[in-house]
Symmetry: C2
Subunit: 392 residues, 2 copies
Amino acid sequence: MPIPIAATTEVSGLIVDLAVVLAAAKVGDEIFKRLGQPALIGEILAGLAVGPAVLGFVELNATLEVFAELGVVFILFWVGLETRLDEMQAVGATAGRVGVAGVALPFAGGYGVALALGEDSTTALFIAAALSATSVGITSAVLESLGALRTRVARTILGAAVIDDILALILVAVAVGIAAEGGVDVGAIALSIGLAVGFVAFFALGGVRAMQQRPGILQAPRFSESPFLPAVILCLALAALAAEVGLAAVIGAFLAGMIVAETKEQHPIEDEIAPLYAFFPPFFFASIGISLDLDAFVDPGTIGVLAALTAVAIATKVVGAYAGARALGDRAALAVGVGMVPRGEVGIIIAGIGATEGVIDGELFAAIVGMSLLTTIVAPPLLRRLLNPAAH
Amino acid sequence: MPIPIAATTEVSGLIVDLAVVLAAAKVGDEIFKRLGQPALIGEILAGLAVGPAVLGFVELNATLEVFAELGVVFILFWVGLETRLDEMQAVGATAGRVGVAGVALPFAGGYGVALALGEDSTTALFIAAALSATSVGITSAVLESLGALRTRVARTILGAAVIDDILALILVAVAVGIAAEGGVDVGAIALSIGLAVGFVAFFALGGVRAMQQRPGILQAPRFSESPFLPAVILCLALAALAAEVGLAAVIGAFLAGMIVAETKEQHPIEDEIAPLYAFFPPFFFASIGISLDLDAFVDPGTIGVLAALTAVAIATKVVGAYAGARALGDRAALAVGVGMVPRGEVGIIIAGIGATEGVIDGELFAAIVGMSLLTTIVAPPLLRRLLNPAAH
């Protein structure tokens, strides 16, 4: 007779889910490491294996999604810790060109292919926006695993990803305006953009400067002997605030990391962040696999749309970002192009907004989700090969 | 115009909640440290402040409850890391006496006071079971903050808490049997008890012995350079399994900590567990405050029941556990008695089961919740005074 502990059944069921997902992700990691393949692909496939598509041990729920989001938040926080503002500013012009060209080409390509597939102009706008997005979490994890975070390629990708997120915000605002009201509220969009740009500028410039002037401030509270918890609170707060102004939460986490990095001479904080960076990210990678619905792709029509979108998404992003990054040299520019390819959750979010607005149907949504996942899975092995010729 | 990112609104709202709760808990911690008071009371009151009872910034939800549960799971995992099986066996007889006497007296007292308050015998059974429970999370945190984990008092409390949890399982099974079917299914209850005892014996004895024989096993996987993630996976798995066999999840976490402790000579793991032990427990303490519903206590009748239950709960637990622990000497035995006082979430869970069975009404439930919280808040200052005469 199992005791009916009603008050805790849900909570203990969720802890079972967390244990299953973490253990599965690490088994996938282990298998792929032994095969000499990228560990994060192993974690994604492990999520697919335990998810509804195959074994059905776990389903996505709000708690798992929060753990996944904290996974990518702590990836970008870690990346921010390895990044200095002046180094970002040094690649600023190149990152700007990569960001703009890496959005313009996929947008044009996405709009064109959508019209060619017979979609109307509002639907094409959402498809184009979904193809323009960049999800920097996967690429950051690959760069970190190759020890390549402190390279110009990495900084250019990170800077361009921040710019892409602001541009995606604009595109989505315009698309939603057109879908919902048949017109664009220029004042409201300008306000959104102002908030987003102001957020980035205020914390990147002001936050870093404030920390340079008072590098001991995170150690001031008595509740903690190290700056660890104050730094984590700053990370969560800026992630939440970034989401509130319409940006990706990871942009806030990245800025928090850059701010905290200014205190590193006082207290090496990486040793304490490392366990969180080990604990949470597997939930992010596994969730990508858990959310994969294989049934959606048995329809030949969907597969055709998926193939077209994916081909355009990869080609336009690589070419656009490569063109923007040519100043770095051919191989590095190509690495930047490949590094910008993953759409990850950002493309899926934009498609979800389109579905909410009633302009993206089920087949298109499945195709965009598939495109986001394929671009996410395809980029890491290529990036490893470009940055680390010794790897296989 | 806020961008309606439907797919992520819930997740980013939950991350806002986490940031608010963690920041508030640490502000409460800071204030209480500066006042020279127990930090965890500051964290509980901070939860009360941001919760529905006062400011209403956050409400309990499944994700917050999972973070709270992981908080107490990592407290007990940490405590287990500081505990050796042979040290537990050395206090085994005393812990057994404390566990049995510390359940028998509160049970008898709770049953008596419930009948005196005019409740029927089935309701009295649930009240008695709720008064018998022990929640070891709060006491563990106090013992840790005083550096007293490696004392005989601490080990006796931990051993007795394991025994209490098994006894509570029996009492709840009997109470549910009587409430639901009007009779007790002896076979089913024997099976429950067998599972619970078997779980504890198998992992305490077998798990520790297996780890002694192969202390390097947690470092075998290639996915991780340290035993950190394998240890965390073991912790979550045993916590989930303990909950599945009807025990508290923290019992599994404690056993996992004891097992992992056997590998410490190979690799000092505490440095890597410490950040999780800093990150999660504030959610546990703050959640206690968030769940506090002050409105329930404006009714004079409820306050009377609450006062009676709390007085009986404290007196019977202190006297019972003290009597069981007399072999340790007067002051140490009293510390054990006080350390067993907090009912925490265990008392609330039992009351919740009674409510589900329809034998605990709203007023009684509020009184039991209040009793659980009062016993939880009252114990830490007393325990500090007993164990550390220097700290006021």
